[in-house]
């Protein structure tokens, strides 16, 4: 009996290690990815775009709410989308290592036509000296990753990668200026009506290797 218990213990221990090992190996680069910050569930997240002065995004942060549980997912960000309005969410700003590639996975629920998801690459806006992590208003968008579209009122696992494995010289010209990145999810207000989308279980990891520049790519 003792032998049996020991073997069972070893087997269980092995299973736990197998399950935990990949998680430990891939550290999540996204700050407050599970909306669990004690200060503010959305600490660091890009929700307030009032600074941009764009009337289509004014009050964006007022459309966001935190749900401790929603249709089987815990810690969920819920974004309401008024008709004709462009609701958007950006992950907290992450530093970008030149040439490195990143993958973002998360779960998305959308009861509206379409949600576009993509990585954004940023440089500092003119007049902002380098320093610690800047604010969204200090950044200038200079690179956009390949966008993925999602729709359908059920949870879907999304994956976006940034940048592509092989990029053109034109892309490289921009990419080398990228110092920060985020992942943005937005609903094009010009195209769709009112609804909501939810996100949960956000994870950003760095992929092995660097992107390659294609000499023959169009300029």
């Amino acid at each position: 009996m003792k032998h049996v218990n020991r073997i069972l213990g070893l087997v269980l221990g092995g299973l736990v290690v197998m399950a935990v090992a990949p998680v430990m190996a891939e550290s999540n680069l996204c700050f407050n990815s599970s909306f669990s910050s004690t200060n503010d569930p959305f600490e660091g997240w890009g929700l307030d775009y009032d600074w941009s002065g764009n009337s289509k995004q004014m009050g964006n942060h007022k459309n966001v709410s935190f749900l401790s549980e929603f249709k089987g997912r815990s810690n969920v960000l819920k974004m309401a989308i008024p008709a004709g309005y462009e609701s958007k969410v950006e992950t907290p700003i992450m530093e970008y290592e030149p040439g490195a590639r990143y993958k973002c996975t998360f779960d998305l629920y959308a009861d509206i036509g379409n949600v576009r998801v993509l990585f954004l690459g940023y440089a500092l806006a003119p007049g902002v000296p380098p320093g610690d992590l800047p604010k969204f208003s200090d950044l200038r968008r200079i690179y956009k990753g390949d966008a993925q579209d999602a729709s359908g009122a059920s949870w879907k696992s999304m994956t976006v990668i940034f940048p592509k494995e092989e990029i053109s010289e034109l892309a490289y010209k921009h990419l080398k200026k990228v110092r920060y990145m985020t992942v943005m999810m937005f609903v094009p207000g010009a195209t769709f009506g009112a609804g909501t989308f939810c996100i949960s279980t956000v994870k950003v990891v760095k992929l092995p290797g660097k992107c390659k520049v294609l000499k023959s790519a169009s300029k």
Partner: protein
């Protein structure tokens, strides 16, 4: 026996039989009636009948009696038939053996035969022996009599048993209309209120008086009209005499019935409570007639539906309608109550009042039945407010140097019109009641001006003027009688001597420097403290972090004071930067520091401390720049006071020259005042020389070069004998010989101008030195960037090697990766160093910050599989669009810049050929209205999608001329079929269609566009290389766009022209240039004004003067130019000019204020409440420009 006799006898017998039958029927009938009566009475005792039940029972009895009587009557009135009687007799008496029947039949047949005759002649045997009483049905009769006897007995028997209740019950049944109640132990003596009418929504109390047996319960049954019945138990009787029970119904809103029940008492009838609606005002109409001077038309209101605006003094007429007749309506709430008068019936009332105060009417009415009604009608009393007076300049006390003139920029508005505005000088005496001297009066007699702005300028200050010049602005409105008056605060112009003024200014600047030194020291201390705490993060006490936060608060407080004093002018051109710092980092670092102890996770805590420290370092860095800027501002402005005096003298001399010229040309006598002015101006020159020497002496210790310069200026003035020229001119003027005076005057002016140039040259020399320093720094930055470029190449090689060796040798790969990381780290550090190097020049004055902000975003796109050719993407579709006539009118309207949505690049190449029906040339307006451009331009570019050349050609759209000022951009980037003038287009990832297209472009891809490029810089991407040279209709500007590598741009006029690095310059336009610059044309004058505004702005910037208004003025003038060239409506052009004029006026004040070297007032401060509105664009322009240069260098180098 004769038949007749027999028949007579039979009839008698028949009647006797009828009587017997009636007797039986009567007896039976009475029995039944009595039984029913008794049954009913018994029932009434057990379950007392209501009146209805009693009536029914009574009715039944009456019917039975009626039936009985009818039957008796019929029986008694029935004529007996001899035959029938004979039959009955034969049946009773069989011994007759049918002889009786036969006798009757034969006698009736009339036959005369012998047999019949013989039979009739025979006697009827036994006839005379018959006893007809035997025919009486005694058996039935006896039975009926027995039943009757029982019934009668039953009528009597209950009495001993139930007593009085039996006859009462019998009586209640026999007479259902009597009010005799059933006999019970408990009696309800009275019920209130009985049947009643109550106020709807009011309370109703129902009560009853009951007397009866102890223990019997009392109930209240309620039957609402709109609900189910309900019974309330009100309690039990105690048996002590009469007892009362009651129940109250609150807020009764529906009619109802009720009754009380008590013990065995007879249930009384239901009582009804009916409701009456409360008295209410069904309609209130109000007519407001404002006083005539307000020029507001009368207005009618439905007072119960709309808010009422009542200008003060208005006559308000009311008409009130009630839902019931009322005794009277009283209006109160605005003053003494006023009774309204009846109009028609008692339901409609009316009245008028004049309203001068209050906020609402109270209408009270009392109905004929006593119900009251009251309602309040709120109104917005629109008072005739005092005029609103805004002093834009001076905001604080101003030092007015000799040669300067006091000026007041003010705006007055009044809700109903202005009557008079005066500029008054308040005498500087102890007597506060001393009348003020009116210097200027603006009076309106007939017109009703509600808004007025003016820039008043007084007489030039003379050197001999000292003390304070205290002015005020008084505005009165057009209210009849006592006018509303607005009085400005005292506007003090200090008439200090130049040397005193300079000293004050220096002291103020030094105070600022001291403050800045203090905050810098404090910031350094706090950084050291924060670093110390960072080292002992786990053991640090919360108080220590609170202390660090408190110190930051102190720093922020001091910075606020520095910004408030003199509007922060002492910070020079870094005011904007410090404002931003104050609003963001300085505010954010405080909670960041104080919140450190509250962070639970260690990693987060470390990060927060790092962030706080970073902010503190940024604050320190920028405060250091600010200190430098303050020093620079102090240095730059050291001679401002002297220049101000000199400008004043020159201005005066210019006026005298003009006056003299007028006398010469028109042959009029020279006015004595001109001579006096010329004479006193000589004294002003002497004062200026003294001021120069005094300033030189004061600055001897700190800036010997400047002191020497000032001495040289003073000596130059004396040497040139400027004062002498003026005296000579004055003498000639006095002799009334203007021709002789003019050369002396002009000589004096020329010499003054030369001295003024010397001041400018001295400033320019200093700026030149600074510029060369900056150029050196930029060169260094370029060198560093060149090195970085090499490092980047190495990094790329290293990355490639890593990739190549990835699967071969892991150790080697690791090593290469380490190398790459190291290079990466070095690049990062070097990159961070370059802007830091450039940051040190943040305080420099940069003249030209007109560079537009253009940047591009690259977007990755995965092309849809097979979309590059027909097989995958499908055949090219054609789309025809009808002429858009509605655009013609929209073209002329610019609603302002529209905000856009997110845009992205498509995954499929263009596969649609769009052909738009062109608008007729006659329908087209002369130009499209222009919106203001964005402050920055964001281009989106991606790798060109692959597409079959033939397909691409097929998909080329047709030429278009439909245009709009702006579009709400959003969605996929693609070539549209409408031209816009907002310059929001994106380069995208598709080749442009081979067609003509104008409008305003961003940067874009090479193509055939011939419009105006609004991008001041940027790169043209590769697109359609099949382009042709063409002439443009509107060659406005080309911008500084450059071709990108293989991109051809050829000569296409504006638009895609790559000037400088492009393949060629654009050709001129058609025969008539719309932007004609011919001398004397409106466009030419606008262009000149723009140029002059730009130049002045650059000069002002070089001299350390911040005048954004001038910059804005130039921008608006440029917009006006555009509007003219595009043939925009005159209203739009006028609007731009009006805006430009407003900005120029502000600029004049700003520059004049600076030139006059205004100082902080003793009590005046300008709050920093506009900080929150400060946009990122408010960052110091030169700082932004420098860093932009850095990024441009970076782009060029990498």
């Amino acid at each position: 026996m004769a038949p007749v006799t027999l028949i007579g006898q039979l009839v008698k017998v028949g009647r006797m039989l009828n009587r017997w039958s009636a007797e039986v029927r009567f007896t039976v009938g009475m029995s039944v009636i009595l039984f029913i009566l008794e049954s009913m009475a018994a029932t009434d005792i057990m379950l007392p009948f209501q009146r209805g039940g009693r009536v029914v029972a009574w009715g039944l009895l009456v019917i039975l009696v009626g039936v009985l009587v009818e039957r008796l009557f019929r029986v008694l009135s029935r004529r007996p038939s001899p035959e029938l009687v004979a039959v009955s007799v034969e049946q009773t008496f069989p011994q007759l053996d049918n002889h009786l029947i036969n006798f009757l039949l034969f006698s009736a047949s009339g036959r005369k035969d012998s047999f019949t005759t013989a039979y009739l002649n025979m006697d009827i045997p036994h006839w005379n022996e018959l006893d007809f009483r035997a025919m009486k049905n005694l058996r039935t009769l006896r039975r009926a009599q027995i039943a009757l006897g029982v019934a009668i007995a039953l009528t009597l028997i209950p009495y001993p048993l139930v007593g009085q209740a039996w006859p009462v019950a019998m009586g209640r049944i026999i007479n259902p209309f009597s009010n005799v109640a059933p006999v019970s132990l408990t009696h309800i003596l009275s019920t209130t209120p009985g049947n009643a009418t109550a106020l709807q929504g009011g309370n109703v109390s129902a009560s009853c008086q009951v007397k009866g047996k102890a223990g019997h319960e009392v109930w209240l049954d309620v039957r609402p009209a709109d609900g189910t019945a309900k019974t309330y138990n009100l309690g039990a009787l105690k048996g002590h005499g009469v007892e009362g029970f009651s129940n109250t119904f609150f807020k009764v809103t529906t009619a109802m019935q009720y009754r009380f029940r008590a013990g065995d008492s007879f249930s009384p009838d239901w009582y009804a409570i009916t409701l009456r609606p409360p008295l209410a005002f069904t309609a209130i109409s109000v007519k407001v007639v404002p006083p005539s001077y307000m020029l507001i038309p009368p207005r009618q209101y439905d007072a119960q539906a709309a808010a009422i605006d009542v200008p003060v003094g208005s006559v308000v007429s009311l008409e009130v309608k009630c839902n019931a007749p009322v005794n009277g309506v009283v209006l109160s709430g605005f003053g003494p109550p006023v009774a309204l008068s009846r109009k028609g019936d008692d339901k409609v009332w009316e009245g008028s009042v004049i309203v001068t105060n209050g906020s609402g009417f109270v209408l009270s009415a009392t109905a004929a039945n006593g119900d009251p009604a009251e309602t309040t009608l709120g109104y917005n009393l629109m008072p005739d407010r005092s005029p609103t007076l805004t002093i834009k300049y001076p905001k604080q006390s101003v030092v007015l140097l000799p040669g300067g003139a006091p000026s007041i920029d003010f705006a007055v508005s009044d809700d109903f019109g202005l009557d008079e505005i005066t500029i008054e000088q308040v005498l500087d005496t102890e007597d506060k009641t001393a009348p003020a001297t009116v210097l200027k009066t603006y009076k309106w007699v007939t017109s009703k001006t509600r808004e007025y702005t003016a820039l008043w300028k007084g007489d030039i200050r003379k050197t001999s003027d000292t003390g304070n010049l205290t002015l005020r602005v008084v505005a009165k409105d057009n209210r009849p009688g006592v006018k509303n008056v607005a009085l400005s605060s005292s506007l003090v112009f200090t008439l200090d001597e130049a040397s005193v003024a300079a000293k004050k200014m220096e002291e103020a600047a030094k105070k600022t420097l001291d403050d800045l030194n203090r905050v810098i020291e404090l910031q350094r201390e706090n950084i050291a403290q924060t670093k110390q705490l960072q080292g002992i993060l786990n053991t640090s006490a919360p108080d220590q972090w609170m202390e660090a936060g408190a110190r930051q608060e102190t720093i922020r407080g001091i910075v606020k004071q520095v910004m408030e004093k003199g509007g922060g002018r002492s910070l020079g051109n870094l005011l904007g930067m410090v404002r931003k710092l104050y609003a963001s980092e300085m505010a954010e670092v405080i909670p960041a520091l104080q919140g450190v102890p509250g962070v639970k996770e260690a990693a987060q805590k470390v990060k927060q401390v790092g962030r706080a420290l970073s902010m503190e370092e940024k604050i320190l860095r920028q405060l250091t720049f600010a200190e430098e800027a303050a020093k620079q501002a102090l240095y730059d402005s050291k001679n401002n006071s002297l220049v101000g005096i000199l400008d004043g003298i020159m201005g005066q001399q210019d006026k005298i020259i003009k006056a003299t010229g007028l006398c010469m040309t028109q042959g009029i006598a020279v006015a004595a005042s001109v001579t006096a002015d010329q004479d006193s101006l000589g004294s002003e020159v002497s004062a200026f020389i003294k001021a120069c020497l005094a300033a030189a002496e004061a600055g001897q210790g700190e800036d010997k070069d400047n002191a020497a310069f000032l001495v040289s200026i003073a000596q130059g003035c004396e040497k040139e004998k400027i004062g002498g020229d003026m005296l000579l001119a004055a003498e000639q003027l006095e002799k009334n010989v203007p021709v002789a005076a003019m050369p002396h005057e002009q000589n004096a002016y020329a010499k003054l101008l030369a001295i003024r140039k010397k001041f400018d040259e001295a400033t320019a020399q200093v700026d030149k030195e600074k510029e060369s320093e900056m150029v050196e720094a930029l060169k260094e930055a370029s060198a560093k960037l060149a090195k970085l470029k090499d490092m980047e190449e190495k990094l790329k090689d290293a990355m490639d090697k890593v990739e190549e060796n990835k699967d071969k040798n892991s150790k080697k790969t690791d090593k290469l990766e380490e190398e790459a990381d190291e290079i990466q780290k070095n690049i990062k550090e070097a990159l961070q160093q370059v802007p830091k190097d450039l940051d040190i020049f943040a305080h420099l004055n940069v003249g030209n910050d007109l560079v537009e902000d253009v940047f591009s975003t690259f977007e990755e796109v995965t092309q849809a599989a097979g979309s590059e050719n027909e097989s995958g993407g499908g055949p090219v579709k054609e789309k025809a669009v009808a002429k858009r006539e509605y655009l013609a009118k929209d073209m002329e309207k610019a609603k302002g810049l529209l905000d856009d949505f997110e845009m992205w690049l498509g995954k499929k190449p263009d596969a649609t050929k769009v052909t738009v029906e062109a608008a007729d040339k006659k329908e087209m307006p002369e130009g499209v209205a222009l919106t203001p451009l964005q402050t920055e331009m964001n281009d989106i570019i991606g790798d060109l999608l692959k597409q079959d050349k033939e397909e691409a050609k097929k998909a080329d759209d047709g030429a278009i001329n439909a245009a709009v000022p702006d579009l709400e951009m959003g969605g996929e980037v693609m070539e549209g079929d409408t031209t816009t003038f907002s310059a929001k287009g994106k380069s995208g990832n598709k080749e442009p269609d081979h067609k003509e297209q104008d409008g305003r472009s961003n940067v874009g891809r090479q193509g055939m566009a011939n419009g105006e490029s609004a991008a001041a810089s940027g790169t043209i991407g590769k697109g359609d290389d099949n382009i042709e040279a063409r002439r443009t209709q509107d060659p406005t500007q080309s911008g500084q766009v450059t071709a990108d590598g293989e991109a051809d741009t050829k000569a296409t006029g504006g638009g895609k022209l790559g000037s400088g690095k492009g393949d060629g310059w654009g050709d001129g336009g058609g025969t008539t240039r719309m932007d004609s610059a011919e001398k004397g044309s409106g466009a030419q004058s606008l262009a000149m004004m723009t140029k002059r505004a730009d130049t002045t702005y650059a000069q002002a910037s070089m001299k350390g003067m911040r005048s954004d208004s001038l910059k804005n003025a130039a921008h608006h003038l440029r917009q006006a130019e555009d509007a003219v060239s595009k043939g925009a409506p005159i209203g739009e052009i006028a609007e731009w000019k009006r805006k430009a004029m407003a900005e120029l006026k502000k600029a004049k004040i700003e520059l004049g204020e600076r030139s006059a070297a205004s100082l902080d007032g003793r009590n005046s401060t300008s709050m920093v409440n506009d900080i929150v509105e400060a946009s990122p664009d408010e960052a110091p322009a030169k700082y932004r420009g420098l860093v932009s240069e850095y990024y441009k260098k970076l782009n060029e180098s990498l």
